[in-house]
């Protein structure tokens, strides 16, 4: 392996004899240990209600749909959405305690399968870690309560997003991630709208490989 030779080459190119040392190295490690925001656009730095409106508008512009509701209404809202879309009342759902706690008995027609999907479920339901109003983006973390396959393999992805977790900017989400998690998860998925491609004649087409439909439930009283 060429590790030593490459590092020596880099140092030579930078006009240095050996590794970075002393104060220069300490400054670099401080920069990594205490990350600081760079310029943050003003667009996302707005009060909650404006964030909700901005998020819904930008997610809508890229083809996602949103509705805002109370946590207790989530099961019926999912059943209603699937009926509207002419889909069977069935889904694979993330094994997330916060989702388990919803009153599923209010929507007895829903057949839910807890766990990841192998691509044989038309619909996946999961819960977002956070979202970013600035660009209409969902933030999903992989983990025991959130299989990554649910984000990509189903034709329709329904995401529960607690309004309290709707940030204005990415920087707020990174601060929250560092505060709430001991370790970085295997995967952080930033999702902005349903899957699309423009690879044939620059014509935008939905559902290239991931979900064709993305429906976001903004839930008011669950944090």
């Amino acid at each position: 392996m060429s590790r030593a030779a490459i590092l020596a080459g880099v140092r030579q190119a930078l006009g240095r004899d050996g590794p970075l040392e002393g104060e220069a190295l300490a400054a670099l490690d401080r920069r990594l240990a205490q990350p600081r925001p760079n310029l943050v656009p003003t667009r996302g730095r707005v009060p909650l209600e404006d964030r909700v409106a901005l998020f819904a508008r930008l997610a809508g512009e890229v083809g996602a749909t949103t509705e805002r509701l109370a946590a207790t209404d989530v099961p019926m809202a999912i059943a209603r959405y699937l009926a509207q879309q002419n889909l069977p009342a069935a889904a694979a759902i993330a094994p997330d305690p916060a989702l388990d706690a919803l009153p599923w008995s209010t929507a007895p027609m829903l057949a839910l399968k807890r766990g990841p999907t192998q691509g044989d479920n038309l619909v996946g339901v999961s819960r977002a870690f956070a979202a970013v109003a600035e660009t209409g983006t969902l933030v999903m973390l992989s983990g025991p309560d959130s299989p990554t396959t649910l984000n990509f393999l189903s034709e329709t992805h329904v995401v529960v997003l607690p309004v309290a977790r709707l940030a204005g900017t990415y920087e707020e989400v990174w601060a929250r991630l560092r505060a709430e998690r001991d370790a970085i998860p295997r995967t952080v998925n930033l999702i902005t709208g349903p899957s699309r491609t423009a690879d044939i004649e620059q014509t935008i087409q939905r559902g290239a490989h991931g979900p064709r439909w993305l429906h976001i439930l903004l839930v008011d009283d669950e944090g």
């Binding site: 590092l7 880099v10 990594l32 990350p35 760079n38 310029l39 930033l190 902005t192 044939i200």
Partner: protein, 472 residues
Amino acid sequence: MKSTAHDFPANAAAAIADPALQKALGRLKGHFIDKRAAARAKLPEFDALRDQAKAIKDHTLAHLDAYLERFEARVVAAGGQVHWCADGAEARATVLEICRRAGARTVTKGKTMIAEEIGLNPFLEANGIEPVETDLGEYIIQLAKEPPSHIIAPAVHKNKEQISDLFVDHHHGGDRSRRLQGIPELVTEAREVLRRRFLAADVGITGANLLIAETGQTVIVTNEGNGDLTQTLPGVHVVLASLEKVVPTLEDATTILRVLARSATGQEFSTYTTFSAGPRRAGDHDGPAAFHVVLLDNGRTTLLGNEMRDILRCIRCGACLNHCPVYGTIGGHAYGWVYPGPMGSVLSPALIGLDEAHHLPNASTFCGRCEEVCPMRIPLPRLLRHWREREFAAAKAPAAARWGLGAWAFLAARPRAYRLVARLVARTLALLGGRRGRLAALPFGAGWTATRDMPAPEGATFHAQWAAGRRR
């Protein structure tokens, strides 16, 4: 891939004479140029973000060794491995070894220009492993056995009829009755075919738009979600990245992501931006059991140490291609190697040698639009000029060009003679141009005027006008 960059003049002439290609290139403006301008107008901080993105990358490059070591330490802490590779041969061998240890028969691939750079697909095939491209554009050109013609829209040169033909041949054994007409049907068929390949693959290979030293994460940006299926479903995830992709923190990555999609496609943000660190954790339901980062030098340290360092800030958004009048006229294949357009004309001579690529730095009018739109503020015309100087010094340019430049230099050093000759030439050309004001042919310039007219000079020379006091 095998370079044809030495044939650039012939390649370019063929491209100009190809009507299907010319029609495809005509679509660039609406899709890329107008959308970028609209996205820029919607974000007042856009240009200030470019300044910061440039500063972040300059800082990182100046401390590249330390950031790479820290990145590696975080990858290892997350359970992954980093393989340092000096060149394409070492990187290919490393990937093959990983595939063999996994007993791999098929490998799915997200879009990676590094794999093109090191010629990974033919190497894997020669060793009995089938690589399957999963980005729709890459998949199309893999079927066509062609290289990409654009770094973010690899099949931009193909029209839907050509794609229909490819799909009939490869999906239906040439049965013309099953030929699809519409773009939605083509996309759906590719989705179904590739879904089976995703589920069956043994190893998934992606590129990386960024590497983050703080967290050991690799970052990919896609709209299709193909990169995510590539790296989530197989047991092994291999990331191919060149050294200069590293940035310090999540915040620094965010600043660059804010200018990347807007510069590339005019999107506020790409559909899927994915950060990956190590293999699946205990308790995870999915994700790969092994995570490898192949860190490639292949000439980057040389660029770091010379006047070309600025090109290492490049984030492969493609804006310089989309806005280049030369790229817009000839497309990507004419450049003859992996990276086309202005960024490619700077990078290619460094990666495949000036002997092979000496035409490319001349494939520019120096109009400056590439530098104007570059999110990382890379002075592309200046870097191209460095290569032209080296080309001249190495006597690679054609004799006529060298003789012409020598004659010009002789005159430029003798102001009185220069003024006299300039006046004579201007008058002669104005006379020859006649009432049309244009010249259809020039002595010693037949190649130049074969595809365009030369505007005839009007009025007195600049020197004469200046001397006459017509200055403002």
